[in-house]
Amino acid sequence: MNRIDSAFQQIKERGEKALIAYLMAGDPTLEDTEAYVQQLADAGADIIELGVPFSDPIADGPVIQQAAERALRSGTSLKKILATVRSLRTKTQIPLVLMAYYNSIFRYGEAAFCLDAVVAGVDGLASRAASSTMCR
């Protein structure tokens, strides 16, 4: 069973509701993100969403936009985020879901992204404005 399904199953067995936390990856740096993910996992988050910063986030509000700007200033890229996930997977098995705008994935290459994301240990993708057939 994948990490997301098994997380929900455990939550259900405990009769609880899931706590899903969101972090903008790379805000202010990816080293910080790596530490925050572990702290959130330790503090009881069930799933963590990692935002992939984009210069023109039409589906987010000003708070996320500013977080993305900080992340981009520290040189965050999709490639570096996947490296961070790979490193995190040696420390935690908490489900990690990437939230990305489609242009980031399109530029990376859909097929290459899907492969690299799975290999790195990403469990899911929430993409703004992507085609629904991706990563099948």
Partner: protein, 397 residues
């Protein structure tokens, strides 16, 4: 020639709908409503009537005799969109979308604006049709175009400052899309150029294609034949596609789109998407963009706010790859020289956007003969740019 776009809103590999799921029903509704309206003789009659009596169409096709002599080559005609009410072609589209808003029974319209020309055209139509109106504008642009901000407010529109990002057009579009996502049931988003998700690029092209239909008739009347070249500036690309569409099947008519070369292509400070851009997705559509290797959208530069945007309309991307339309650029400096030339030889003050098209004609016309004909789309008048021009010339008004 096949009908473009296809049912999914694609122009070959370009266009489509890359938007948050919440907007899909609104885009479907808009596409449906537009399709119905397009087939409705009553809508067509209403649109024609407003274009004639309110916008001032048909606009003249003017033979620029002194400019022709000065450049010493092809005969040059100017399609006078600067005659349109509010001073540019923008209102051809906003009248159309205003009428559609009324048909959809929505009471509120929103829009983005860079230079303020589209914003003023939307504010005008909102007043005309009694619609509530909010226009988003980057604070950087609000400073540069204070006069247009005041014009919109005089027309009863709320102008909302956008502080995010680069505080220019692209950020205003993002903010307008957020508003639309939230208020989609009551609100229609009047996009200003052939950009965004389907059906916008198609619908706005259709509303602007009146320019080319008139031009075709007028040049046949004046010259007894079709022109050798059509030249127009390309920001999002609505005035150019509006002029070109009626001539696409005429293989002998060459078409040139002129992008903003800014401080020069090599400087990196420009908005010439076809010069150094690559394919990507921005604001709902797949097209040529100025972006970095990670797909982050780059900042653009142009003396003309209306051309200062990182993406080009998807239909242009299609015709660029199909090699039906060729694209070039003119720098800020060349556009300024064209602005001066048109002022002094013809007594016409072009919008800085349109001056880019004239700048290309300055290079093209001398290479052609007196028996050849160029038609340039003079998409707007330059009154709005007088402050900017004074600043560039170092004149304190």
């Amino acid at each position: 020639m096949m009908q473009l776009p296809d049912a999914r809103g694609r122009f070959g590999a370009f266009g489509g709908r890359y938007v948050p799921e919440t907007l899909i029903p609104a885009l479907d509704e808009l596409a449906r409503e537009y399709e119905k309206a397009r087939r409705d003789p009553k809508f067509k009659a209403e649109l024609d009537s407003y274009l004639r009596q309110y916008v001032g169409r048909p606009t003249p096709l003017y033979y620029a005799e002194r400019l022709t002599k000065k450049l010493g080559g092809a005969r040059i005609y100017l399609k006078r969109e600067d005659f349109c009410h509010t001073g540019a072609h923008k209102i051809n589209n906003t009248i159309g979308q205003g009428l559609l808003t009324r048909r959809m029974g929505k009471q509120r319209v929103i829009a983005e604006t860079g230079a303020g020309q589209h914003g003023v055209a939307v504010a005008t139509v909102a007043a005309l049709f009694g619609l509530q109106c909010e226009v988003y504008m980057g604070t950087e642009d609000m400073e540069r175009q204070a006069l247009n901000v005041f014009r919109m407010r005089l027309l009863g529109t709320t102008v909302t400052a956008v502080h995010a990002g680069s505080r220019t057009l692209k950020d205003a579009i993002s903010e307008a899309m957020r508003d639309w996502t939230t208020n989609v049931r009551t609100t229609h988003y009047i996009l200003g150029s052939v950009l965004g998700a389907h059906p916008y690029p198609m619908m706005i092209r259709d509303f602007q294609s009146v320019i080319g239909r008139e031009t075709r008739k007028q040049i046949l009347q004046a010259e007894g034949r079709l022109p050798d070249y059509l030249v127009a500036c390309v920001g999002g690309g609505s005035n150019s596609i509006g002029m070109f569409t009626a001539f696409l099947k005429d293989k002998k008519v060459k078409m040139v789109g002129v992008e903003a070369g800014g401080l020069g292509i090599e400087s990196g400070k420009h908005a010439a998407r076809f010069a150094t851009g690559s394919v990507g997705v921005l604001h709902g559509t797949m097209t040529y963009l100025l972006q970095d290797d990670d797909g982050q959208i780059q900042l653009t530069h142009s003396v003309s706010a209306g051309l200062d945007y990182a993406a080009v309309g998807p239909e242009h991307a299609f015709y660029k790859e199909a090699e039906r339309i060729s694209y070039t650029s003119a720098t800020d400096e060349e556009a300024m020289a064209a602005f001066d030339l048109l002022c002094r030889t013809e007594g016409l003050m072009p919008a800085l956007e349109s001056a880019h098209a004239v700048a290309h004609v300055m290079k093209l016309a001398p290479k052609l003969t007196r028996s050849q004909v160029i038609v340039v789309n003079l998409s707007g008048r330059g009154d709005k740019d007088v402050n900017q021009v004074a600043r560039i010339k170092g004149v304190n008004l």
